[in-house]
């Protein structure tokens, strides 16, 4: 097992328009990307647990040539609404840092 912050050199979150949030996971090299980016623990259930996201509205895009994975999810409350805490969602990445990943070995 490894935590996301151990296998990524950069992790960021940002609003993508008023209705979506997008998370960029830049893995530390192709080796870590290959080993961890397909982890089932990085699936919609994680976004649901951490951010209350609707799993049906989670999109995931691996970008192999940048050794990164982009995960986007629909906001659960209106941007700037009554219970807003992070308008740009720029601090939401912090809850991902200590998420533990397994390394599914497809060859075995």
């Amino acid at each position: 097992m490894a935590t996301l912050k151990q296998v990524c050199h950069h992790i960021r979150s940002k609003n993508a328009g008023p209705f979506w949030v997008t998370i960029d996971l830049f893995f530390d090299g192709p080796e870590n990307f290959r080993k961890y980016s397909e982890s089932a623990l990085l699936g919609p259930a994680l976004l649901q647990r951490l951010f209350g996201a609707d799993p049906a509205l989670v999109k995931r895009f691996p970008v192999p040539n940048l050794s990164m994975v982009k995960i986007s999810y629909a906001r659960t409350s209106a941007q700037g609404g009554e219970v807003e805490r992070d308008m740009h969602c720029g601090q939401q990445f912090v809850r991902l840092l200590d998420v533990e990943l397994d390394a599914p070995d497809v060859r075995s």
């Binding site: 008023p18 609707d54 895009f61 940048l66 982009k70 209106a78 941007q79 609404g81 009554e82 805490r85």
Partner: protein
């Protein structure tokens, strides 16, 4: 016609953020054919559209416009501004127009200015919706008249066509309403015959100015250079450089899909794009594709919700800081009880929130057991109610509890640190974007109005009078 590549300076990520005179000079020496920048986005929230107000202060927008209008006049190249005044509603555009006219008068310039509006009336949109021409984008559902009525202002986000029309008609300066960040830049390249894929892709890479460079603070602007096979991108300052990684990574920024970007009239697809270093400062990009689609414009509508009143305290008392979550829960329950006891049903469906800054205010979640106590916290009290008056009445009712709530009932009442008198701050209504829909149009200009201000003609009139 332009000989060789089409070169465009994007001097900043947003008009008013601070263009740099030396970069403009360098770009003109490099032979740019146009200057293009957007002046806003939805990122800062719905208030700027709902209120018709700029996020940037007037002085910084005037400073940037002064430098850019002077450069455009000296180099005899067009200056293109989109999403004027942050939100690009009619009031935002007019605010920017007044500044541009002031600058022109001060500099003695006489440009032809095209002012392009894309704010929509509710009647127009209800008719479009009734005709089945408006479609929801996830996560929102089908549009109804009540949602249209709940908006204070609605804009249709423009593509490049109104801009290319204005350039063809001889505009020296374009001040556009809400436009996609990319269309503001792509319009000039498309007009000069650059291929669509590279035009849109270059515009996406350059839309935040120097953000696509290696050092995001070392330069404000970038220059894109388009030819028949692709484009090159370089920072507008010799002190900065672009790398294949910095350029390709920018395609990810603020974009929910790293490969596709939906625009009016098509989709930019960069799946096959290749990024190659030309030298240590310049990157060449090829393989960008454009897939035409039926023409749609995105709708942005902003409206106000309920009203809020705030109070703020600071706490350093270690007895509280060792039990922040317990303190939060007990105080919140006491504030609800206090409001119900003193205001009763008149308070309506009110809401009180306590944000524990220094503990968990950003996320609102519970820190794990064993988390060390902070040195101090700030507690932000937020009351939400149907009217501003009621939100403030709730804050006033809560005032003595919020400032003196004890963690131990048998000790004397504490006084937490507060900095302002009066202690409550009325912050007005919340503002939200209420639309995430697209409207089909028969013609890209159908929902757009262009007005011309020709200062050459107006000054002749002044002379005659």
């Amino acid at each position: 016609m332009i000989d060789g590549p089409v070169k465009i300076l994007i001097p900043t990520g947003s008009l008013g953020a601070g263009v740099r005179e030396d970069e403009i000079r360098y770009a003109i020496e490099r032979g740019i054919h146009a200057i293009a920048t957007d002046a806003g986005s939805t990122d800062s929230g719905a208030a700027y559209l709902a209120l018709g107000m700029s996020k940037n202060n007037r002085g910084s927008v005037k400073r940037d416009l002064t430098l850019l209008m002077k450069a455009g006049a000296v180099a005899r190249i067009p200056l293109i501004v989109g999403s004027s005044g942050q939100a690009g509603g009619d009031a935002n555009v007019d605010w920017t127009k007044e500044i541009a006219l002031e600058v022109a008068a001060e500099l003695g310039l006489k440009p032809r200015i095209a002012v392009i509006y894309s704010e929509q009336t509710k009647t127009t949109l209800k008719a479009k919706n009734a005709a089945g021409k408006i479609r929801a984008l996830p996560p929102l559902g089908a549009l109804d008249d009540a949602t249209i009525d709940a908006c204070d202002h609605i804009v249709a986000v423009m593509g490049p066509e109104p801009y290319t029309e204005a350039l063809k008609a001889g505009a020296d300066i374009i001040l556009g309403g809400r436009t996609t960040d990319t269309a503001v830049i792509a319009c000039f390249a498309l007009l000069k015959g650059a291929p669509a894929g590279p035009s849109w892709h270059a515009a996406k890479i350059a839309e935040c100015g120097g953000q696509c460079a290696v050092n995001r603070l070392a330069s404000a602007g970038v220059i894109i250079s388009l030819d028949s096979n692709g484009f090159e991108v370089e920072p507008a300052s010799l002190a900065n450089r672009c790398s294949p990684h910095s350029v390709s990574a920018h395609m990810l920024y603020e974009n929910s899909n790293p490969f596709e970007l939906t625009e009016p009239g098509g989709v930019l697809d960069v799946t096959e794009a290749r990024y190659v270093a030309v030298d240590d400062r310049v990157v060449r990009v090829t393989g960008s594709a454009w897939k035409p689609q039926p023409y749609t414009m995105k709708l942005e509508g902003a409206g106000r919700g309920r009203y809020q009143t705030l109070m703020l305290i600071g706490i350093q008392d270690p007895d509280v800081l060792s039990r922040v979550d317990e303190f939060h829960d007990k105080m919140l329950a006491a504030l609800y009880e206090r409001t119900r006891a003193t205001i009763g049903p008149a308070a309506g469906d009110f809401h009180i929130s306590l944000r524990m800054y220094g503990w968990n205010a950003v996320s609102g979640d519970r820190p794990p057991p064993g988390t060390p106590a902070p040195r101090e916290i700030g507690v932000l009290f937020v009351a939400t109610a149907d009217t501003q008056e009621m939100a403030t009445q709730i804050a006033k009712a809560c005032n003595p509890y919020f400032f003196h709530f004890p963690i131990e009932l048998d000790k004397e009442l504490p006084s937490y640190a507060f900095a302002f008198t009066p202690a409550d701050i009325e912050r007005g209504p919340v503002y939200e974007f209420k639309l995430n829909h697209v409207v089909e149009v028969d013609d890209p200009l159908e929902l757009v109005r262009t007005e011309w201000i020709d200062l050459r003609v107006e000054s002749r009139r002044t002379v005659r009078a």
